[in-house]
């Protein structure tokens, strides 16, 4: 029964996409996933555009002090279990805007990121894989409920 619920979760990741001020390169690649060429609906992925229905928050672009609270608000509206996927160099670390005074260096400074999809811009296949991996992470987390956030800081340090 438990396994069946997990299978269903993995087979139906609904995404909400937040553009934290990207150059639109990553956003176009995210939208390209939904086109007939890549057709992510075959994995059950639907772009619902509504945090209350979504399982995965896909963030693109450089997070700054102004949109951090919007991002946090969106995340708080999503019911558990939820996952965050950072897409593109800017969402990972700030990208070429890394040294700007207003830029928070990556989404993981604001939200617990489950999957990092690097690239400028990443391929649509990579984004789709990232979303599916995020659901795997959700499953792993719910199997070991106490290790929830422990992996995050180590992974962050390693990446820097």
């Amino acid at each position: 029964m438990f396994n069946f619920v997990h299978k269903c979760r993995k087979k139906s990741p609904w995404i909400v996409h937040f553009d934290a001020g990207a150059c639109n390169g990553c956003d176009i690649e995210v939208l390209a996933c939904l086109t007939p060429v890549y057709d992510v609906e075959r994995f059950g992925i639907i772009n619902v555009g509504n945090p209350k229905h979504a399982d995965v928050l896909v963030v693109t672009g450089t997070c700054n002090r102004r949109n951090a609270r919007v991002l946090r608000n969106l995340y708080e509206q999503m019911p558990e279990p939820r996952a965050v996927v950072a897409v593109g160099a800017c969402a990972l670390s700030g990208g070429i805007f890394h040294e700007c005074y207003n830029v928070l260096k990556g989404v993981d400074g604001i939200l617990p990121v489950d999957v990092y999809v690097p690239g400028c811009a990443p391929r649509p296949e990579a984004i789709a894989e990232g979303v599916l991996m995020a659901m795997e992470r959700v499953e792993q987390r719910s199997r070991e409920p106490h290790s929830q956030m422990q992996a995050e800081p180590a992974e962050r340090e390693e990446r820097r």
């Binding site: 139906s12 059950g44 639907i46 555009g49 209350k52 399982d55 558990e80």
Partner: protein, 287 residues
């Protein structure tokens, strides 16, 4: 006899969600193939529903859960009433009750998306309700009774005398299933300028209950169409599935229109076709 009827009602309650979910899956697959996509697996609606039930319960206010429960109960009840051959007028009343409950649930939240979606859902109700009432009136003129079981005693299928009502039923189905060009209050799958319209503020298990109510609704509508060809079960099923296919094709070749357009089409064209059929029936029957 009583035991049989209870068993029939229970079987309808049990199997309708399974059939409805499978049909929804087929709909999504078919839609994907029409758009040259591979599409989700046939089981996708069940995966979605189980996932929704396993999610955290986030309710905005208590009235939302009441409205969703009333919506689900009345959709299931209207199917049971149809299966047991009860009064068609009571059936329409129960159907409208469920839709109104969901609308009130949408109105109970302050979100503008939910509010506008609910207003548009009221307009949709206003658009298809006269068509359903006229259909029931036509069945009454044909059989002399408002009960659905009276159709069973006819020797000829209803479609011979009421063919235009199949066309109006396709209109009703397009509105009730939130298919293009009538998906103005909240599209069934894709999101639009109102996000998910009336469904925006329902999440997790509540959304799952709404999905199950949709499956009951779909089976009810298909059952209602099958009533037009009661003499042969296969022909009735084929007629119902043919109408569903027509709705899916229309969904894929049209874009969403405005509510004014919807009212014009349903009231002028839909009511016009209904009245024309009624007059023809009146002339032929000579009553």
């Amino acid at each position: 006899m009583e035991v049989e009827r209870i068993l029939l009602a229970l079987a309808a309650l049990l199997f309708a969600p399974i059939v409805g979910g499978a049909l929804t899956g087929a709909d999504r697959k078919l839609t994907a193939r029409m758009q040259k996509r591979i599409g989700p697996p046939l089981m996708q609606p069940f995966y979605d529903a189980v996932k929704l039930f396993s999610k955290q319960r986030l309710i905005v206010n208590g009235f939302q859960s009441v409205s969703v429960s009333v919506y689900l109960a009345s959709m299931a009840l209207s199917l049971v009433l149809l299966v047991l051959g009860m009064d068609l007028l009571v059936l329409l009343f129960v159907l409208a009750l469920g839709s109104v409950a969901l609308i009130l649930g949408g109105f109970s939240v302050k979100s503008p998306y939910s509010q506008i979606g609910s207003q548009r859902e009221v307009l949709q109700l206003l658009a298809y309700e006269p068509l359903l009432v006229l259909m029931v009136v036509a069945i009454y003129l044909k059989t002399g009774s408002f009960s659905a079981s009276s159709v069973m005693s006819l020797r000829q299928p209803l479609i011979y005398s009421l063919p235009l009502f199949i066309v109006t039923m396709i209109l009703v189905m397009a509105i009730k299933l939130h298919k293009s060009p009538m998906d103005i209050s909240g599209s069934h799958h894709a999101h639009q300028e109102l996000v998910r319209g009336i469904y925006t503020e329902f999440s997790g298990p509540q959304m799952g209950l709404i999905e199950i109510a949709h499956w009951y609704e779909l089976v009810f509508l298909l059952g209602f169409i099958a009533l037009f060809w009661h003499t042969n079960l296969l022909c009735g099923a084929l007629l119902a599935l043919g109408c569903y296919f027509a709705v899916i094709v229309i969904d894929n070749i049209t874009a969403r229109m405005t509510w004014r357009w919807m009212l014009r089409v349903t009231w002028l064209f839909g009511i016009g076709a209904s009245l024309l059929n009624l007059f023809l029936l009146y002339g032929i029957a000579g009553r």
